[in-house]
Amino acid sequence: MVGLSIGEKHFIQGGIAQDLRSDGRKRLTTRPIYVETGVISQANGSARVRMGATDVIASVKAELGRPNALQPDKGKVVVNVDCSPTAAPMFEGRGGEELSAELSVALQCCLLGGKSGSGAGIDLSSLVVVEGKICWDLYIDGLVVSSDGNLLDALGAAIKAALSNTGIPKVNVAAGASGDEQPEVDVSDEEFLQFDTSRVPVIVTLTKVGRHYIVDATSEEESQMSSAVSISINRQGHICGLTKRGGAGLDPSIILDMISVAKTVSEQLINTLDSHIAAAEAGEEES
């Protein structure tokens, strides 16, 4: 973890209390965000997002598979996050496993919504090719290249960018297959369907340090946190998921206050992110 002296700890805590953080930001200011799309040519869609020294890559791969017997009209989405030991020595071996699992679960919960599929960022029924027989399995992989706090928000943003970069190949189903036979399909190499990402939420993590909370915490600030609440919010301002980290308890009224603050922050974040994604996509097409 981050090793800080008592003086440094006081400096960080005192700065946050006075609304001036060590990198000159205010409590509710985020670091500048950089988005690059199409960074991995092997994947159907990919993006790299940088926020300060935090650097993450998300890739989306689509494979044809069979739908679950219980949900024949839905495709499948698997979210997996990998914390590379190149980011921090503590991620080596099994060290990153716990963090990876926590991030994957949080992202899965944000993207897939409730069990009935309402509130999902990704519309699972759009992934079905032939009901009950063929569907697209989306494998979303996140990779933490460099870690300086606020990983969940960065990964959320990267996945959103990667999904808007994703082209799902058009599939032509050969007619004539009947009964239990698996129909033959022809996957097009040229025609791609764009993925609808307007419903994909962004994640805003509010980290509580002392009596105040901050957005986009660096790892130094995170080491001083008592608890953190990650809220995913979509464009309509609806909450799509919420998880809490850190041991300390919170008063219910503070949580509600955090939710309303997160909403305001998310509006800006969605707009910035969308314009960055659009710029990145345009830049990619030119080159």
Binding site: V105, G179, L242
Partner: protein
């Protein structure tokens, strides 16, 4: 529809899809829930402590058909490989029996739910336990879901805090947990497995009622802010009622063990 034959399992299994016709009734306000409860009513709760002789502390809880047993071992010396820590560690593990689910072993087939539960249980308890009181040592919390009847995780959390208390581990307060499901326009307190299978969203709230502090909150699905408000209110009310039952269970008052009327309204 002839093509659908390949997708249905060849053997009978009471899967949620076979019961889906019932979900239609949830849109209607007058219809009660499958077990005749009101929307904001919990299942009758039962707690018992000291059920495992070998453990330092243990508790059994049943909420309707959800049955859970939690044993606490320790504090014992942390493993040598672990780094020195001047506060204690909690080691939490949630597992399911093979017969816990309608289809045998289903809990393990449907992804690694129990692994996620273990970390959620840990997060829910660590804020309430005074870890400073057992430095360099580890306390093991093992939870076993005997029967999964919905709201498994909240029951596990409440039961685990009772087991910790039974083991004499210092805590700030008992931890109680309740979930609400969002079914259409309605918020349903303490959902059953059947209700959970077609919920639009869920909210699990874990709190320390006497301190009015939320130690863990997880929301899935799409929620508006007023709905979150309402959901949290329902949960905190139910939590404080559960803590009364749990306290009387610890004191050994049998009379208050059974709770029939936990209607929040």
């Amino acid at each position: 529809m002839a093509g659908k034959g390949g997708a249905t399992p060849s053997t009978y299994s009471p899967s949620p899809t076979t019961q889906k016709t019932k979900s239609l009734s949830f849109g209607n306000d007058e219809v009660l829930r499958p077990d005749d409860r009101e929307w904001h009513q919990c299942r009758p709760a039962f707690f018992q402590i000291g059920v495992v002789a070998a453990a330092a502390g243990s508790a059994y809880a049943d909420f309707g058909s959800t049955k859970v047993i939690v044993s606490v071992f320790g504090p014992r010396e942390s493993k040598k490989a672990m780094m020195y820590s001047d506060i204690g560690r909690l080691n939490c593990n949630v597992s399911y029996t093979n017969f816990a689910t309608p289809v045998r072993g289903q809990a393990y087939d449907l992804g690694s739910d129990h692994k996620e539960f273990s970390s959620m249980l840990h997060k829910a308890l660590e804020g309430a336990t005074i870890l400073e009181t057992f430095p360099k040592t580890t306390v093991d919390v093992f939870a076993l879901v005997l029967e999964s009847g919905g709201s498994d995780l909240p029951v596990v959390i409440s039961c685990a805090s009772l087991a910790l208390a039974d083991a004499g581990i210092m805590m700030y307060d008992l931890v109680t947990s309740v979930s609400v499901s969002c079914l259409g326009k309605n918020l349903v307190l303490d959902p059953t497995l059947e209700e959970e299978s077609y919920q639009d969203g869920s909210l699990i709230l874990t709190c320390m009622p006497s301190r009015d502090e939320v130690t863990q909150l997880t929301i899935t699905g799409e929620w508006s802010t007023p709905k979150i408000n309402e959901g949290m209110k329902i949960c905190t009310d139910a939590c404080s009622k559960f803590s009364q039952i749990m306290k009387s269970c610890l004191k050994g008052l049998d009379s208050a063990l059974e709770e029939e009327d936990s209607n929040v309204d």
